[in-house]
Symmetry: C2
Subunit: 657 residues, 2 copies
């Protein structure tokens, strides 16, 4: 009985609706704004505009427009070497800031460089070499004012790990040659990405994955330092936490050296305390910056007078004196190592780039100046290519030193030149003095440096904001810690890509309802007060409709419809007569998408439901018309807003508003 | 003078604006709807819901809910073998339709099978085997009512090409074993994808790329048939157009056989004419369906009585009699061919799946029934696994035969059983009669079959709708024609992926203006009549803001702002005071996205521009609050609509409406 009366109601309703909707479409043409179709654009022009938009943040030739030739030459040189642009307004006041900042980061970089070179399984002087030539080149070509160039912990570790997979580091010369080859190709990779405007490729490593990767790398690096800190002689070559801890505990009885531990731990405490002071009060930022050099001087002096090296305290022993020798003839331009060097170079170059660009962007936004990412990449690339020919390994921007540089009041890249000069003097005159520096001090310096890479608050924020991002973060972290840096990196990239693919294959859809006392239709899950309009189902598709999601979108809409119909049947309400698809977020549609819409239209026709579109964008409108789909459903079934669409299907409901 | 007065104006305006916006935010709280925050969801439940939405089109266990155990068992069996579901309502009327359809497709498939087996470099009987077992299995497990199962041209070509890269087809037994291995793994791949609900992976091959790939494959296959059609003995093994044409013309003087050409060309004309009739009048759909069998019978009889085989007309010679022998022991489950078979199987399985699913969907939407893609994949996979153990190679749904099946009035998968029975009788009794069938006829049948795969109107439509899609289409086409099927496939997949990546890294943004006489803000490029609001810049971001595009989005917004400011300066108008970001299409945001917004906010603060958000969705709102960004810019700076936002910054402008 009950269900019968219900179905009777529906039939009556249906007839009413039909007449209503007819009159509505008549009325509609009177007062409704039509959906705009953008003016036809020339194909070539459209293509050029699209390409430009993809590759350039800004028109790179804007400056060159309408200039005489000589001026163009000057501008061209300035574009490649920004120093000639900002150099003209350089003054003593700026130099004062740069000098202080340069000296501060030099005091920080010298002990770090020596330690980082060991991470890359290279002799200490190669770290110093890499802090001499690359910063000079960068100062001429780079456009960031705050970045501090030189070897960094993570890239050193990555390079060391990948290189030693190919050649045992004990084969000194060959290993070094491969390192220079990798550095050369890292530079080529960076410059090429910048030159071809493919800089956006580094955006594929998500921020969250980088947080995890960095934290993992920091822990791996710190664990490696246990060798130096505890004075262990035989140490595993693997980097995963299990092998390392095994190695550490296995040596506990006869491998540890108490004198080394005493020196190492006391200076580590000193360094961490200095760091704490610097963090507590921004005024004392220079305390952690000079603490490493002070530790080196004190400990070296201490070992020298006590002859602790004879009691098992390992020392640096020898750092070659003099500046970078040429290494042009050492790069492998043929043979089996060419390809291996290329592979390692690409990976190391990309990671170095990611770090440098992130630093550049951060400080540029702090001081509010523009940074052209692609130009920046060319500068970094050039610097590494030149570096590879002058016995340097991959250099990039260091997070910790750039922060010190910024806080010490650097004004331009001249602070890098100052640092470079200090390193030059060190190489020429002071290296012999490092002979008695205990390795434990270098280990302590590295540990205190990489601690800053573990950003727990950031990880917590990631967890709060996006759980999927946190999985990427955790995956990268665990990959690095329990396996190796390469595996961690691979996990990070894979998860990042999976996220992108999920995004494009499974776009969100939402049922819209009318927000009371407005003409606005919104997601009923977000606005519980929003009410569904009887007999009308309003669905919003929240993504471009492409081949990768067109079927899903179609099926999802049909499923919403089925659910709605079931509900209507259960509650004895009139069934759905109109399906309005809100297209505002649908920025583009391709052939598969049009197909899906056609199939949707066909399915709806069978159910006697009318398909109505609301607010398709310019591109979509263009394609709906090109494909004749607009004709198929009728031009008068496409409306500017959902409200217009709703009032067109049921004027009575519309008037209630 | 002029510029000075301009700047004065601006200052006055600014002060006015400040007081205005203050009063607005007071007033705003009175009449504005707040942006909703969705109720907090339990983490686990949110995750489950997300996973479900990703993998299931519908709740797969909905049917099983609240059922007794015995009923669950029945339902479970029905889920795996849908035949037990629809079989219960099967009747004689339906059988009549299926019988006619089954006989029609059988007459079409027998000559095609023999020809397609040659494409895969297999003996003719293997084609027939593959039309016997797989359709039977499918009939029990599949849910499409219209698909016709068996070997198809493109998969045969692909399989033949990939297999002969590994083993020369002249090593009969080994080659066959690898074919069965590949078939086995193709089935496993299909079933696994279906079982793990990863069916959406095949959506990554765009519709446009498939059009190009199919057309290219059709031309390649047709070119291969020139060997049979012209009676050439020595023929290249490569499939690219240049090698083939070289081979054809190189044989023109002593390689062509005029008797063969006479038979081949005349029957080809007959077949194409039959196709034309069938196309012209849908009533005569059976003409092209039976034409191949008639050609085979006529030509075989003709050769038999004229003894043309002694004049150089090549004939089939021998088709083994009897049904499929077992091939379980022939599959490589170890050794070097295991991996090769696996690789080939995955590729062939995916392509076969793409074709079958596309067919299934097309006809399901024509007859308006639901098809569960993942269940379908399990059925296809099971059918190929069983096939690989009974001497079949990869079978799938055939476009041309499914269309004939549909037009002949099939009702259920029983038409496949009928076809299978006919093939069984053929194998048992009739194969010896094929001895004198000339190869030229098989070539003609294949050519006339694959002609239908070249869909020029579809390609034209793709060109009209989406130029980028057309590049994918053309790339796949040229890749197949000028290189090989594998290369074409690779190009198609690569371009498809490039499009996805471009989509997520370079989302569109638009400047909005007010559509006259409404409260609606739309893209000013689409609606030239829409007017910008003075002192307010309204930007819409048309995509989720993720790590892959967050920097781009930020920089693009700042560039819009710069352009706008330059324009304002040039035309002496007041500068921008408010930046409204319309977030409706921003369906999601991740940590990088929040970072980008923070940086944007910081840059704007430096310029004294206020950042206002309009209509963030539920997920975005949630994350804005979790990250405290909502607090940073102020909760009262987030509005339900752009109109609300605009009226909040300048109530006077709002009242003018």
């Amino acid at each position: 009985m009950d269900s019968k009366s219900c179905s009777n109601d529906v039939e009556v309703e249906t007839q009413e609706m039909d007449t209503r909707s007819l009159s509505a479409s008549h009325r509609g043409s009177r007062y409704l704004h039509k959906v705009g179709t953008p003016p036809k654009v020339n194909l070539v022009r459209e293509f050029t505009a699209r390409v430009k938009d993809t590759f350039f943040a800004d028109d790179p030739l804007r400056l060159f427009k309408d200039q005489p030739r000589s001026r163009k030459l000057v501008l061209g040189i300035q574009a490649i070497f920004p120093i000639f642009e900002w150099g003209r307004s350089y003054n003593w006041k700026k130099f004062r800031g740069d000098l202080i900042a340069g000296l501060t980061i030099a005091s920080l970089c010298i002990p770090q460089d020596i330690g980082y070179a060991r991470l890359a399984n290279l002799d200490p002087q190669y770290g110093l070499y890499s802090s001499f030539v690359p910063p000079l080149i960068y100062a001429f070509m780079g456009s960031s004012r705050d970045i501090a160039i030189g070897p960094v912990a993570v890239v050193s570790l990555l390079l060391g790990s990948m290189l030693s997979n190919e050649i045992d580091p004990s084969h000194g010369a060959e290993y070094r040659r491969l390192a220079f080859t990798a550095t050369f190709f890292a530079g080529i990779t960076q410059a090429t990405l910048g030159f071809l405007r493919l800089g956006f490729l580094i955006d594929f490593l998500s921020h969250a994955a980088i947080i995890g990767f960095m934290a993992g790398a920091a822990i791996t690096i710190a664990l490696q330092q246990l060798k130096g800190l505890l004075g262990i002689q035989k140490f595993t070559k693997k980097t995963d936490i299990i092998s390392v801890m095994h190695s550490v505990w296995g040596n506990v009885h006869h491998g540890w050296n108490w004198q080394t531990i005493l020196i190492g731990v006391s200076f580590l405490s000193f360094l961490l305390f200095a760091k704490y002071i610097g963090k507590k009060n921004k005024k004392f930022f220079w305390v952690p910056a000079v603490a490493p050099l002070i530790s080196v001087i004190l400990s070296t002096f201490f070992v020298y007078i006590t002859h602790a090296e004879k009691k098992g305290v390992q020392i640096v022993k020898n750092i070659e004196k003099g500046i970078n020798p040429s290494s042009v003839d050492q790069i492998y331009f043929s043979g089996e190592y060419l390809l291996k060097g290329l592979k390692i170079g690409i990976v190391a170059g990309m990671i170095a780039l990611t770090e440098a660009v992130a630093i550049g962007r951060t400080f540029a936004s702090m001081k509010d100046y523009q940074l052209d990412g692609n130009k920046e990449m060319v500068a970094l690339g050039a610097m590494n290519v030149v570096g590879s020919m002058t016995s340097c390994y991959v250099a990039t921007g260091s997070f910790s030193r750039s922060a010190v540089n910024f806080m010490a009041g650097c004004e331009t890249a001249v602070s890098n030149i100052v640092m470079s000069c200090v390193v030059f003097l060190t190489l020429e005159f002071i290296t012999p003095l490092f002979k008695y520096t205990p390795n434990a001090i270098l280990a302590a310096i590295i540990i205190s440096a990489v601690v800053g890479l573990i950003d727990i608050p950031a990880a917590i924020l990631v967890w709060k904001i996006d759980k999927f991002d946190f999985v990427a973060c955790l995956g990268a972290f665990l990959g690095v810690v329990f396996s190796s840096v390469e595996i961690g990196l691979l996990i990070a990239v894979t998860i990042s890509f999976a996220k992108i693919l999920l995004q494009v294959t499974r776009p969100r859809t939402a049922i819209l309802g009318k927000v009371p006392r407005t003409n606005v239709y919104r997601n009923i899950l977000q606005y519980p007060e929003a009410a569904k309009v009887p007999e009308i189902l309003i669905v919003r598709v929240d993504s471009a409709i492409y081949f990768s999601n067109s079927n899903y979108v179609k099926e999802r809409i049909l499923r919403w419809l089925m659910d709605e119909e079931e509900e209507a049947k259960a509650t004895c309400q009139p069934t759905i007569q109109f399906l309005i698809v809100e297209m505002s977020p649908v920025t583009d549609i391709d052939t598969s998408g049009i197909h899906a819409l056609e199939e949707l239209h066909r399915s709806l026709e069978k159910k006697n439901i009318e398909l109505i579109l609301a607010n398709p964008g310019p591109v979509v409108m263009d394609k709906l018309q090109a494909s004749k789909f607009a004709n198929l459903i009728g031009d008068d079934k496409i409306f500017l807003t959902v409200a217009d669409a709703v009032s067109s299907c049921s004027p009575k409901l519309g008037e209630e508003v």
